[in-house]
């Protein structure tokens, strides 16, 4: 490719038109994608002969607790929404953190399971800790997830094992290991263990009253702290600088003296800790007993979509986690309004597919630059003639 005369119209500028906003900002594009997803969902509901208003009333009730049909307000729905969103946000950050270092972490599911299992064991067996055993459980889950993720990073760094393959395999290992170990617990049957001691359950404090006895726990504060930590580490610290440099161009990072291999291990470790915490928050926040898991909870896999829509940034992942949480917890409310609950999954799926519009936007940029070039050429010729 050869090139010449840069055009004055080129170069990032303030958004001039509606389209500019989407070209210049990934965030704006994500919002557009979500709106398109809902638009398609609405059309589908109409196509199957139902009233799409039901969808939006269900979503309104999920977000605010207000039932527009009966005029009754119940904050429990808000609590349930946030409960569903918590593990999605954490697993989204697990995917996103690794992605910012240039790694594809499909292993959030496994890291989630390992964290869940560790939290259950510590909850059942740990000695008393000032009545706040749940804190120890969370720490143990984060550590277990960090180990499970860090192992993949280390394999990648040391033996160039593809993190994609390693995480998929470790998902299976985590799943069956969790089942096997949990069933060894005395008095455990095929699906549950005895109840956790009270101090191991994540407290609800004032949240319980505030959200009318929803399942929302103090874990929400842990999630928010993690979002802040995610931003702080990536955008403000030395480690974040190294990780981002590695993610954007690992050869240049290596040339500059950054330990790229160490970055892989660290990044996967931190990613695993986020997913591990998600496991603990579900295990000790939504259940009062340990589960012998019978299948994937799928928070880890859905986290991939969350990170994709959220652009792997802290704020974006938080918002997109809330979105996916909303779609999942709105399902029963949708059904009660004669809207098939599968619509929620169709919208989630469409949003993920439409994120590929990013590629389309690049075509728009190219096309516009070409038009601008042709115009300036014409102007120059007119001036010359």
């Amino acid at each position: 490719m050869t090139g010449t005369s840069r055009l004055p119209t080129e170069g990032p500028a303030m958004p001039r038109t509606f389209l500019d906003a989407f070209i210049n900002s990934n965030g704006a594009l994500s919002i557009l994608v979500v709106l398109l997803g809902f638009a398609c969902g609405t059309l589908i509901i109409m196509a199957v002969g139902r009233n799409p208003a039901g969808l939006y009333l269900a979503l309104l009730q999920t977000l605010t607790g207000f039932n527009a049909t009966t005029g009754v307000w119940n904050a429990r729905y808000v609590g349930e929404w946030l409960t569903a969103a918590m593990p999605l946000i954490l697993c989204g950050m697990s995917m996103g953190f690794a992605a910012r270092t240039g790694l594809f972490n499909i292993g959030a599911e496994g890291q989630y399971i390992v964290g869940l299992t560790a939290a259950q064991f510590v909850a059942l067996y740990a000695p008393p800790f000032f009545g706040a055993e749940w804190v120890v459980c969370l720490l143990a889950a984060a550590a277990a997830g960090a180990f499970w993720g860090g192992l993949v990073g280390w394999l990648r760094a040391r033996f160039s094992v593809s993190e994609v393959v390693a995480t998929i395999m470790l998902n299976y290992i985590a799943f069956f290991l969790s089942r096997y170990l949990t069933r060894l617990i005395p008095d455990a049957n095929t699906y549950r263990t005895p109840n956790f001691p009270g101090a191991a359950i994540i407290p609800r404090w004032f949240i319980d009253d505030l959200t009318n006895h929803s399942r929302l726990s103090a874990g929400i504060f842990v999630v928010l702290a993690c979002v802040i930590l995610y931003w702080l580490v990536l955008e403000r610290t030395k480690l974040g600088f190294e990780l981002r440099a590695t993610g954007l161009n690992r050869t240049a990072a290596g040339y500059a003296g950054i330990g790229v291999n160490r970055c892989f291990t660290t990044s996967m470790g931190i990613a695993g800790a986020f997913a591990g915490l998600a496991g603990a928050i579900v295990a000790l926040g939504s259940f009062s007993y340990g589960r012998v898991i019978g299948g994937y909870d799928n928070y880890g896999f859905n986290g991939i979509a969350v990170a994709l829509v959220g652009n792997s940034t802290a704020g974006g992942t938080l918002l997109s986690g809330l979105l996916f949480g909303m779609l999942s917890s709105a399902q029963p409310l949708m059904q009660s309004r004669q809207i098939p609950k599968e619509i929620a999954w169709i919208i989630s799926g469409l949003v993920v597919v439409l994120v590929s519009l990013r590629a389309g936007i690049r075509l728009v940029i190219a096309w516009r630059a070409k038009v601008a070039a042709a115009r300036s050429l014409a102007e120059r010729e007119a001036a010359g003639a």
Binding site: M1, T4, K238, Y255
Partner: protein, 517 residues
Amino acid sequence: MNGTEGPYAIEMVGIRKVFPGIIANDGIDLRVRNNEIHAILGENGAGKSTLMSVLFGLYAPDAGIIRIHGKEASIHDPNDASSCGIGMVHQHFKLVRPYTVAENIILGLEPRNGFGEVDYRGAERRVAELSERYGLSVDPKAKVESISVGMQQRAEILKILYRNADILIFDEPTAVLTPQEIDELMTILKRLRSEGKTIVLITHKLREIKEVAERCTVLRRGRLIGTVEVADTDASALAEMMVGREVDFQITKEKSQPGDILLSVRGISVRGSRGNIAVRNLSFDLRAGEILGFAGVDGNGQSELVAALTGLRPIETGSIELCGKDITRSSIKERADTGMGHVPEDRHRHGLVLDFRLDENLALRTYDRKPFLRNLFFLDFAAIASHARQLIEDYDIRASQGPATKARSMSGGNQQKAIIAREIDLSPKLLVIAQPTRGLDVGAIENIHRRIIAERDKGRAILLISFELDEVMALCDRIAAISKGEIVGIVEAGEADEKMIGQMMAGHHSLSKKETP
């Protein structure tokens, strides 16, 4: 050929090609006479390759017409070009390495015998005949991977001759050749003309034009500057047309004042990426205040040597000492701390994180030191930005949004200035510089050459690797010719002439005047 044949083999009229953000060809006219060698001259990005890609059917022009032998031709893909009798020798050869020359040449047009089998025997005979007729002396049975780069290029030429091309386009054909191979190529070009072929030679090297071309079309920034008879002009006039102003080719520098030995390399061997020994038992010394240049054709171990010196590749044997300290096994970071700066060969892959901001790129080597590291964990981004502002001013880096500019949006010359600023800012005792001016325009080249000499004059040791012999000859105080991973000889710049170094680059030991350990 028929009666309609005009005086011109190729006529391209009013060719315009617009790419996103740039007008690569802006109403260009090109007329190539029958049976002439016609050069197309221009800097990187002047639009030469685009124009030829349009002619060869790789790009569709936005406007303009093409006539071949007076007949309007619509060329939509290389097959159309081929049926118009146009063939192209690309800068990067398109050969299947494990195949023989003959197999490569017939690929896609395999002759069959009576049983429908590929007639290799006949193909080899035909290739040998062609080779004989045009004086190419290529062995049709040789495997491509076992022959020299110059020979591979001839195989490419044979490939298009085999397809009955009578217009041959050469895209920067000398970029990969040793000086001797260049001489041979010039002879081949003349021979092809005497056999009735029309040749278009794309180049930015004035000497080659003076030597073989009859006429020369000069492009600058996508526009046609003019077509001249080469005999009526001289190199400096052509250069002025190409660059748009007077060019001073002479690099002015004082004689070097070498000080103590800063870098001492003893018997190092390095493996290449395919496990082969790429650098073999190499030894040299480099003193403060001098520039040692490595002259050699691409792929003779230069990249591996740089990688070994800078810590990117382990060495098999030998030792490296920098400022009296053994750094043979040191990490990249330790080497930087000992006093080594490095301007890498590939600025996009290795030199910059293109999606980082300029200020982050400028801090890529020093982010973990004060004042950028505020405490154990946190970086001071205000300090990183103000450091960048200083370097932008000192090194005249043009960046539209200052420190916040994404490196990707900057021009190649400014990207290179940024890398050089960053590395010099480390205050290294030794600067390892690879291919500092590849792909840059003349203005940027002058700027970077001046910087390099200024660093030498500050008493730094500089190791320069370049595939442009002219650059090595102009900048360096001592020149080491490297061939197949070995130093063939090291000569003082004053005693060196191009012919001698060229022969050393080809691996002829006996010709080196003086060998220093």
